[in-house]
Amino acid sequence: MKDKKYLIFFIAIITIYVVYEMQKPTPEDWTVTFHHRDRIPFGTLATHDLLKDLFDQQEAPSSFKTMYELVEQEEIEDNLLVLSSELVLDENDFSSLLTHVEKGHAVFLAAQDFSNRLEDSLHFETYLEQRLNPADFTQIVNELAEETKTRVRFAQPNGNEKTFIFPSLATVAYFSKVESDSITEMAWREDGKPVLIKYNSGQGDLYLSTMPLAFTNYFVLQEETSAYASSLLSLFPEEESLVHVEYYQMGKLESRSEIRALLSYPALRWAIYILLATVFIFLLFESKRRQRIIAVIPPVKNATLEFVNTLGQLYHNQKNHKNLAQKRILFWKDYVRSHYTLRTDKLDEPFKLELTRKSGAEKTTVFALVELIERAEANNMIEEGELLMMEKLMNEFYGIA
């Protein structure tokens, strides 16, 4: 009954905690991921839905490979959309990018900051007005709540101009310097700073935008701003497929496990797979019962020995040797009386001789023992040594090996 009370109490506490946790509003996750499976504001789930509509695709493909891998190794023929907070391209990636564009494909790079290599080669510079701490969500929320808006003017290739209103958060970066003839500006903030440029190279187009956030769920799902993303995406030819390159924000998703290095060797791959499979099989099969459960019934204990030991310790702490010797002598005398039918009131010479004869013990033992007993009975105190001696002689007398 008592146990049940505790159980109910315990369950109640857990329930209260669960309810409390459920009531607590879950804080919005404002991490910038550009990941196509994320429903969070700065993921791109909604954008991918948009992509499917725009390009009539079953699935808007995502890739976690570098530009170099895609272009040089896989030789893909798709247009590319690269979204990143900070786009860093190395030598290989950059040259692959140019190759891909020159082959006649369209590539769209959106980032708030571009690596120097890119900026130097294409002769432009970017400026970031305000750098947000990506971990500080409250700052982002406050920023979005503020009513400061920026108009963005977008000149479409067909000559029409459209204006969109963005929270300033999305437009903190712009191209501060555009020095090349081969670059065309396509969109500007209301203060005239360009936010979208086009670089003509060979047959293809390379678009660069400083507003990657415009492609996130938050802005794609808001009425005011959603048209901007779709306008930008319609820069891509409709009949060609588009691949979202997530590598530059998310990294190589699948390459995070260190075991992958081991798995690249066939022999080790075998070993690891067999090992894992065996462990799994072991857990599965060895956990099966071989016979029914046998409940534990504690056996009733015979506590006599514990009792005797405790009493022994107690007397031992008292160290009353005389008293203990008397107890032992009583027992010995009873033993002599019942086994050898001898009187024990007088321990004289004939008694000793008769006892020797009847018990079959050594004469010296019997005589020494009887003498010790007489001494112990006569004296008020006996020594520890005598007690131990008595034990030795009695063992010999009783024949205890």
């Binding site: 060797y265 066939p266 022999a267 080790l268 075998w270 070993a271 067999i274 090992l275 499979a277 065996t278 099989i281 072991f282 099969f285 060895e286 099966k288 071989r290 016979q291 029914r292 046998i294 409940a295 534990v296 019934i297 056996p299 009733v300 204990k301 015979n302 506590a303 006599t304 020995l305 005797v308 030991n309 009493l311 022994g312 310790q313 007397y315 031992h316 203990l324 107890k327 032992r328 009583l330 027992f331 009873d334 019942s338 520890e384 007690l387 131990l388 034990e391 063992n395 009783y398 205890i400 090996a401």
Partner: protein, 443 residues
């Protein structure tokens, strides 16, 4: 589903997997080994499938049955047998796990057998229960594997069965024969006083050489002009009550069995012998009050009644109240009887508290007080002490043993018969006492 449930793997399987892993790891350094390992891997897979097929080819190729009695005898070894029969076409190895009743607390009852094709094997073993009551046997789990030994197939065979553990009827039968034929002195059990001074006249018969000539009936001899002799028989129809103390002191176990169960076993033995000798046997049990009284009788079914009665005894091991016992005996047992009181006293003072009632009972009946030597203490006394503390402990043990003797002396000083016995020899000592008292005509 059943296939998966009955599918088990052997240690050999895991050893094989381990070896393959090791080989592949070596193969990382030496590619040739990796090739061998790969071959071995596929070979092992083939063997696994082959082994599985061998085991699962037939639907029910193994039959097992557990043969056991409906009733077990408490405190004795009870025989059991498992018969295994199989129809595998090759030699098989079988691990048998018998599901024993929970009371035994045995979790490793495993038998390993090797069966040739068509061979039938028996497993014989025995169990020693130490508590009365219902015991539930489960099924028989048999794990079969072939010489390949990669896969084990489990069979769940036999039927669950409930067995009642009764007071020791095995001992009852054993001692019955010995007591009737006066053979208790044989097989080294104990000397027994030969029944001599019989009281009750039975018949006059012809004298044959060897008869006691003091008993020649001279008048009859004169009439028949040949020597006739009086023959006597043992007195019959005396009441023998087994009185069992179910109190706190009877809980102590020796060799796993409580003193109470020793007493119950002895009661059954002595009741049986009393009935066989033509006496009336009865039963009284008590703890803080008298729980049951089975009046003494010599009817045919009396032994069965006593057996069932003893089987059902339960106790809370409360403090025994001897005054209640005295009152109850005074009221319900009116004829002078032999009272065999199974109890246990730890100290002289605990006896003295009850002595008054015992003496009162002894006035009306012939009381035999049966209590127990503590064999554990005795063992301690018979070992060497190796330290001063050990000597002290031994001294205390000797004092306890001596006190039991004093208890016996105290009882004898008041004319109460006593038996001080190790639990194991309880039955024999009680029978001998009964036969002795009977032959002395004390009842």
């Amino acid at each position: 589903m059943n296939y998966i449930k009955s599918f088990y793997l052997t240690n050999r399987f895991f050893a094989l997997a381990g070896a393959l892993v090791f080989l592949f790891m070596v193969g990382f350094a030496i590619p040739a080994v990796a090739a061998i390992a790969e071959t071995l891997f596929y070979l092992a897979l083939v063997l696994l499938v082959l082994d599985t097929l061998l085991l699962y080819k037939q639907k029910s190729p193994l039959v097992a049955e557990r043969i056991l009695a409906d009733k077990f005898s408490n405190g004795d070894e009870n025989a059991l047998q498992i018969i295994l029969e199989h129809r595998f076409q090759q030699q098989v190895f079988i691990q048998v796990f018998d599901e024993l009743p929970v009371q035994f607390q045995i979790r490793n009852q495993q038998f390993d057998l090797t069966l040739k094709p068509g061979e039938v094997k028996n497993i014989n073993y025995s169990l020693r229960p130490v508590k009365r009551g219902e015991y539930e046997f489960g099924i028989i789990n048999a794990f079969v594997f072939t010489k390949l030994g990669i896969v084990k197939r489990r069979f769940q065979l036999g039927q669950p069965k409930a067995v009642s553990v009764y007071p020791s009827f095995i001992q009852m039968r054993k001692y019955e024969l010995l007591a009737i034929s006066n053979q208790l002195q044989q097989s080294g059990i104990k000397k027994i006083r030969r029944i001599g001074n019989n009281m009750e006249f039975e018949q006059i018969k012809n004298y044959v050489a060897g008869d006691d000539y003091r008993k020649i009936n001279w008048k009859a001899s004169a009439r028949r002009s040949e020597l006739m002799i009086n023959q006597f028989q043992e007195e019959r129809s005396q009441q023998v009550y087994s009185v069992i103390d179910k109190g706190r002191m009877m809980q102590m176990p020796f060799e796993g069995m409580s003193l109470l169960d020793y007493a119950i076993n002895a009661s059954l033995v002595i009741s049986n012998i009393a009935l066989k000798k033509g006496d009336k046997a009865g039963l009284v049990t008590f703890q803080h009050k008298v729980n049951s009284v089975l009046p003494a009788s010599s009817r045919n079914m009396q032994l069965n009644l006593i057996l069932e009665h003893l089987y059902k005894q339960k106790t809370a091991y409360k403090e025994s109240d001897f005054s209640q016992l005295y009152i109850s005996l005074k009221r319900k047992v009116t004829q002078r009887s032999l009272i065999l009181l199974y109890t246990n006293f730890a100290s002289l003072s605990s006896l003295q508290r009850q002595l008054l009632y015992l003496r009162k009972i002894n006035q009306q009946h012939l009381l035999v007080c049966i209590f127990f030597e503590n064999t554990e203490v005795k063992e301690l006394i018979e070992t060497k002490a190796d330290s001063l503390e050990g000597v002290y402990t031994k001294g205390i043990a000797e004092q306890l043993a001596y006190e039991k003797k004093l208890i016996m002396k105290e009882l004898q000083a008041h004319g109460i018969h006593t038996i001080l016995t190790p639990p194991k020899e309880l039955s024999v000592n009680t029978i001998n006492k009964y036969l002795e008292l009977k032959s002395r005509g004390l009842i």
